[in-house]
């Protein structure tokens, strides 16, 4: 698409057009003329939005885009890879048009020195191959053939990615700026943005050191300065990205022949590419240093303050010499400190700000701005023009953060380990952060800690993952991660037993909670009816599970609505939605509305009391009849505490309650539950066990199954859609159309067969699903089914790529001819599909009714 529109190339050197006309208005103002800002400007202009002004505090490409390894690596998780793939194709086009960007499709070797690393790489191959990336697993001899300078004897294997490439970052940065200008984009250098001005929470202008520029959109692409620029807005916007020192070294001329592939030596934290006839070596060290931490702000003349500390690199240098023995005789290489922006979770920051409309951001390139820039520029341009992302960018969405993530001290701590994680083995569900922890804690944190809780974080909130009940007085730590059965599996099994036979207590305080009320009941009901796909005009005291959808029928939120009063609702949403759902609610609230929103997340401690004996336990503690109908709630005293909201539902579909406890009573209620609960077989249960139990019940997760690109029908949540309800709701037309035309993908539950849970690698998510040998989907979440003792997985199923029919039906999924397989790190295991969770016998009525158990007498046999 972009190829045909590219203007003809004359030279990559050009002059910034010193515009004579007024710069006092532009449709879009972009802050920062680095490679990302230029790419966004170029893509906007190429799509017809040419009234774009790029403001740069210094000169084009003078920030961290100036440096960089220039490597372009595709061997990544799919969401990242697809954007990078776009970048590579774009740069290739530029090269073909004659721009000298020093691009070489040299391929890359991704080395595995350990068995676990090889598994990690094989898992990546498994999902990259069916989605189109060429990957080849090589033995050490084949590696040697491709790269004769490598020492390969200690390798378990390597993955060869022929499509990987290298290019010159600063040259691409300039080419994109030039092309953008040819489309009419204006650039203004040496301009300092003082403020981004808003009216009614919407951007209307940018104030620079020179003038006020009116605009409809502002896009913050200021790289290292993006966070500080974000604070120059009223209200402040949060862009949690902070630079870490990031090093690479250039050797002198080593007379290398052309065409050596890039090497990623993960287990040595380093990469090596050819640069001219020498090598360029770079490191993602395990513990990095935050840059400029002795400065109050990121300096404009940043290069001036960079330090080169060879001592810090001694160890890495040794590892590089081990990998390329010829380096030992190389004269001292040139060490370059090229700080780059890292984010608290190592993922890009893209999208529209919460709380300020039309304020967009694209930053946080995490060590390699070139690789993402092309794809990000395109995705951002589409997002702005369409008003919503055109592909699933949920993992990168800026609305995944809270204010707490944006603290400077927090960021300086956190990014120390984010750098190294780029090359670490990220064991699924077992790769928690070390730094900047214990930030958001439940009131029960300290108690749970003494009871053996091993914590993990979500939205900076500490949540008990599981309870190590054997550690006594010591605080437990998570054992080394594994792709196989987790070492702490037996604890999870015990926790599950408590939930299925006694009572399990799960601290779910991290859930987002919002009060929605109005003086006028019809206003709040009308408002929620518009947002929710389910009927929300429910009796007082009832609870409804509903989705909030966008116009395309995709999920914007998955929540429980509790009607507390005629005119007041209490909404419970997933933890990671705290910022995003508030934004969605605000966005859909007209300025004249009488409805008021209040985030009360921190007011309540939430305990899930799960299990067949939960009812008796709560009954004893509350001295009241706890035979609540499901999906109703009651305010009761528990122990000596008052005003505890007991809601009759659980997040796993098991019998039990959610207790919403005013936080000052949390400790009391918890202790009562534990002391009195002893006779009911009570046990602390972690969120990992709960996760497996949810998967077993086929309950889809927010952000894993439920995203803006998934509808309730596709996710099997059709039961909470009421197309027949009187009021219109957002997404209704899309759902009606889908109901008429059928769905293109459907969430399916799989049970894996012929897999040995003690010996084989487990599925963890991301595994490709094959139907009669054809790729039809990817596992979204996976776990262990405690009731069936089988490994289980959820995944969206589509038709194969070249099928004529596109709609997915039950017949198609459950066809007797269909043989399903799931590829786990290169081994395909047969799987049985289900469109409803297999039922296991624990329903209440069956439990209540006594039946004698026959004893098989010997004489019978």
């Amino acid at each position: 698409m972009f190829a045909s529109k590219l203007p003809k190339c004359h030279s990559i050197y050009y002059l910034v057009v010193k515009a004579n006309y007024s710069t006092q208005h532009a449709r879009v103002v972009i802050g920062g003329a680095g490679v990302v800002g230029n790419s966004v400007a170029y893509h906007l202009a190429a799509k017809g939005w040419t009234d774009v002004l790029v403001l740069e505090q210094s000169t084009i490409g003078s920030g961290s885009s100036h440096f960089g390894s220039g490597t372009l690596g595709l061997f990544k998780p799919i969401a990242d890879r697809d954007l990078i793939w776009y970048s590579i194709k774009l740069y290739q086009e530029l090269q073909q048009k004659g721009y000298d960007i020093e691009m070489k499709r040299c391929g890359s070797l991704n080395l595995a020195k350990t068995k676990d690393r090889l598994i990690a790489l094989k898992r990546r191959i498994a999902y990259n191959v069916p989605t189109g990336l060429q990957c080849e697993l090589l033995d050490s001899k084949a590696v040697k053939d491709l790269h004769p300078y490598l020492f390969t004897e200690d390798l378990e294997g390597a993955v060869w990615i022929p499509d990987d490439a290298v290019a010159n970052p600063i040259k691409i940065c300039h080419v994109l700026a030039k092309l953008a200008q040819e489309y009419g984009v204006r650039y203004k250098e040496n301009v300092i943005i003082k403020n981004v001005l808003t009216k009614n929470q919407r951007v209307y202008a940018v104030r620079t050191n020179e003038e006020v520029i009116h605009c409809d959109y502002f896009i913050n692409c200021a790289g290292m300065w993006a966070r500080e620029l974000g604070l120059q807005c009223n209200p402040k916007v949060r862009i949690p990205a902070y630079p870490a020192e990031h090093f690479y070294a250039l050797t002198s001329n080593l007379n290398l022949e052309e065409g050596l592939p890039c090497v990623r030596d993960y287990d040595s934290n380093s990469y090596i590419r050819q640069s001219g006839s020498g090598f360029l070596l770079g490191w993602f060290e395990q513990e990095a240093k935050a840059a400029f931490d002795d400065h109050p702000a990121i300096p404009k003349n940043w290069r001036h303050y960079l330090q080169h500390d060879w001592a810090q690199f001694e160890n890495f240098w040794k590892k590089s010499m081990h990998r390329i023995p010829m380096l030992s005789s190389c004269p001292q290489p040139r060490l370059i400190n090229s700080p780059d922006n890292f984010t608290p979770d190592g993922r890009w920051i893209l999208g529209e700000m919460p709380s300020v409309s039309n304020y967009f951001v694209a930053c946080g390139m995490n060590g390699n701005s070139l690789q993402g820039a092309g794809g990000i520029g395109n995705a951002m341009a589409e997002w702005i023009i369409e008003g919503r992302p055109t592909k699933d960018l949920l993992p990168f969405h800026v609305q995944r953060y809270l204010d707490v993530h944006n603290g400077r001290q927090y960021l300086q701590q956190r990014i120390k380990e984010v750098v190294g994680r780029h090359y670490a083995i990220l064991y699924p569900l077992q790769c928690e952060y070390k730094y900047a922890r214990k930030v958001r804690c439940s009131p029960l944190f300290s108690v749970l800690e003494t009871k053996g809780a091993v914590f993990g974080i979500k939205m900076a909130y500490e949540r008990a993952l599981y309870f190590d009940t054997t550690c006594g007085d010591k605080k437990p730590t998570m054992p080394p991660g594994s792709f196989y059965k987790p070492q702490f599996f037996n604890f999870m099994k015990e926790e599950h037993n408590a939930c299925r036979e006694g009572v399990g207590i799960i601290d779910m305080s991290s859930f987002s909670k919002i009060d929605i009320k109005s003086d006028r009941a019809e206003d709040v009901v009308g408002y929620l009816q518009k947002l929710c796909s389910n009927e929300v005009n429910i009796p007082i005291g009832s609870i409804v599970h509903t989705g909030m959808l966008n116009e395309h029928g995709g999920y914007e939120n998955d929540c429980m609505l509790v009607r507390q009063e005629e005119n007041s609702f209490f909404m419970v949403s997933p933890t990671s939605q705290q910022t995003r759902v508030y934004e969605w609610l605000t966005k859909n609230l007209s300025s004249k509305s009488t409805v008021a929103l209040n985030d009360v997340t921190s007011m309540y401690t939430v305990l899930n009391v799960v299990g067949p004996k939960a009812s008796e336990l709560i009954g004893e503690l509350s001295n009241s009849d706890m035979l609540l109908h499901s999906f109703t709630y009651k305010k009761v005293n528990v122990g000596y505490a008052s005003d505890v909201m007991v809601m009759s539902f659980t997040h796993t579909g098991d019998p039990g309650y959610c207790l919403y406890i005013p936080s000052e009573y949390a400790l009391h209620v918890y202790e009562k539950l534990m002391v009195v609960g002893r006779d009911y077989g009570v046990r602390d249960v972690g969120t990992l066990t709960q996760r497996f139990m949810r998967i077993e019940r086929f309950i889809p997760f927010w952000a894993e199954e439920l995203t803006s690109f998934t509808t309730p029908f596709e996710a099997g949540n059709g039961y909470n859609v009421r197309l027949d309800k009187k009021d219109h709701f957002i997404g209704k037309e899309a759902l009606m159309k889908q109901k008429r035309d059928g769905i293109l993908k459907q969430l399916v539950f799989f049970q894996l067969n012929k897999i040995n849970i003690d010996v084989d690698i487990w599925p963890w998510g991301g595994e490709p699903i094959y139907r009669n040998g054809e790729f039809v989907g990817t596992v979204t979440s996976a776990g262990y089914g405690f009731s069936t003792n089988k490994l289980i997985a959820l995944g969206f199923l589509r038709r194969p790529k070249d099928s004529q029919v596109k709609t997915v039906t039950t017949d198609y999924i459950l066809s007797k001819q269909a043989k399903y397989e799931i590829d786990i790190a290169g081994n395909k295991f047969p799987a049985t599909p289900y469109i409803h969770a297999p039922i296991f016998a624990t329903t209440v009525s069956e439990r209540r009714k006594y039946k004698p158990t026959a004893i098989r007498s010997k004489a019978f046999m």
Partner: protein
């Protein structure tokens, strides 16, 4: 105590003549409870011997109201002790303690405990006979077979029935502390009745869904019905005086079926089942599971009045008794209150005389053997269940019983709140009492068997502990007086395994 014993005393007076006549009649005809059963084993002989020697000391020539020595009291109280422990971790019942103390001679209470062999579960029952012990004895021996048969899933029932035709038939239950056997001729009658019941069950079983309440009701009613049928003349017109005399006596009873956390209690009459529950603050709660079927139970009175024509409303319950005679308002046996007027005149009058037909006998049946079935799911808070005949409940309250068993469990004496025994006590007297009481608290329970502990405290308990004098007096009353002061007492205390209940699935 006063109320209870007065009531019993009244019954005794009302029935005194009739019962004596019946007993006499039984003796002359060569049947009666003793003839119905044979006692097996030396131990049982010893027990009976002991009973003759100890229980009925009053019949032997000795100084009247002479005090018994503590050792004599102990051996009287402990003569009928029984205890059984179950292997730990396999069932919700850890063990049980049982004991009996006779007042009537012979005792009219019976008890029975057995494990079900073809289904999981334990059965425990206490039975309180009246008009003689025959019916209670027969029921104690037969009822559990009827219940277990009703519990059998269809497959097991077929296999069990089939096995009866083989040389090695299966057993339905394993009884504990069962030392008596039916004499041969009645045994055959009972066996035939039971086989017929099995055939009927087999025919019925496939068609119905299992319902524990109904299964227990069916078992009780069927046995009651069989007792009636066995008593009535056969086709040849012959009357079996043994089975007929059983039908002239009656029995109330309370049976618990315990399987894991599931406990069902079936109750007919005025026995009681009380659950000892320990709260999280270590205090004891008595949870009375049963509601006696007597005139204190208004619903029961209403039921009976409603079942009969309006003009009988003044006679059907009279002087707090059914037809002015029977204190319990439901019972097994007692066909004098159930049979039709024709049978009454052709059989009862013929063999026992007119006086056996209750007054105002217009619209029988007046009595039913249908039990109330109570379900309780055991929790780890439930520490024990006390099944006892009214001989115990007449003397002490359920809460006292639970406290006593609780203190017995913990090996520590905790007395009931102090009540001053008389008015205008001097302060020094009260102080003396408190000191004595304090001393009493130091002593450990004397008995290892909780049922014995209950009997000892029920009879000898005072504000300051056990009074040996009171105990010895109550145990050495002459036969003709004793019934005024105390009824037969039968107690079975079933201990639950809290650890098992904590972990057992629902």
């Amino acid at each position: 105590m006063v109320v209870g014993s007065a009531r019993i005393m009244n019954i005794t007076r009302n029935f005194k003549l009739k019962r004596q006549q019946l007993q006499q009649c039984s003796r002359t005809l060569g049947f009666g409870s003793r003839k119905l059963l044979t006692v097996d084993g030396d131990a049982a002989d010893g027990a009976r011997l002991c009973r003759c020697r100890r229980f009925h000391t009053s019949r032997e020539p000795r100084a009247s109201f002479a005090k018994l020595s503590p050792q004599e009291v102990d051996s009287i109280l402990r003569a009928n002790e029984y205890n059984h422990e179950f292997s730990s971790g396999t069932t919700s019942v850890k063990s049980y303690d049982s004991n009996q103390l006779a007042s009537n001679n012979p005792i009219e209470d019976t008890r029975s405990e057995a494990s079900c062999l073809l289904t999981t579960g334990l059965l425990v029952g206490v039975f309180d006979g009246h008009g003689g012990g025959a019916c209670a004895q027969v029921i104690a021996k037969r009822l559990f077979h009827y219940i277990t048969a009703c519990l059998l899933p269809p497959d097991s029932l077929k296999q069990y029935s089939a096995s009866l035709q083989t040389p090695s038939p299966l057993d339905l239950i394993k009884s504990y502390n069962d030392k008596v056997q039916f004499v041969d001729d009645v045994r055959d009658i009972y066996r035939n009745s039971f086989l017929q019941f099995l055939r009927d069950l087999n025919d019925l079983n496939d068609k119905k869904n299992f319902e524990m309440h109904r299964a227990l009701e069916d078992a009780f009613l069927r046995l009651d019905n069989d007792l009636s049928r066995e008593a009535l003349p056969k086709d040849d017109g012959k009357v079996n005086m043994k089975t007929l005399s059983v039908a002239m006596t009656g029995s109330v009873g309370c049976v618990a079926h315990i399987d894991g956390a599931h406990m069902h209690v079936a109750n007919v009459g005025d026995c009681n089942a009380v659950l000892g529950v320990r709260t999280d603050t270590n205090s004891w709660i008595a949870k009375k599971l049963t509601l006696e079927h007597n005139t204190f139970n208004q619903a029961e009175v209403d039921r009976i009045v409603k079942e009969h024509p309006h003009n009988e409303s003044n006679t059907v319950i009279k002087m707090e008794r059914l037809l002015g005679q029977l204190a319990p308002l439901r019972a097994l046996g007692d066909f004098r209150y159930k049979w039709s007027k024709e049978i009454m005149s052709s059989i009862v009058t013929k063999y026992f005389g007119d006086q056996m037909v209750p007054p105002n006998y217009y619209t029988p049946p007046y009595l039913t053997g249908k039990p109330d079935v109570i379900y309780h799911r055991l929790t780890p808070r439930d520490k024990f269940l006390v099944l006892a005949t009214d001989g115990l409940w007449d003397i002490i309250s359920p809460l006292q019983v639970v406290r006593l068993v609780g203190e017995h469990m913990s090996g520590k004496v905790t007395l009931s709140p102090l009540k001053l025994p008389r008015k205008n006590m001097k302060l020094w007297e009260i102080n003396e009492m408190l000191l004595q009481r304090k001393e009493g608290l130091k002593t450990k329970p004397k008995d290892t068997n909780a049922a014995t502990h209950l009997i000892r405290n029920a009879l000898g308990g005072t504000e300051y502990g056990i009074d040996h004098g009171k105990l010895s007096q109550l145990l050495s009353l002459p036969d003709d007086v004793v019934r005024v002061f105390r009824d037969d007492i039968t107690i079975t205390v079933i201990y639950f395994d809290s650890e098992f209940l904590r972990h057992c699935p629902v």
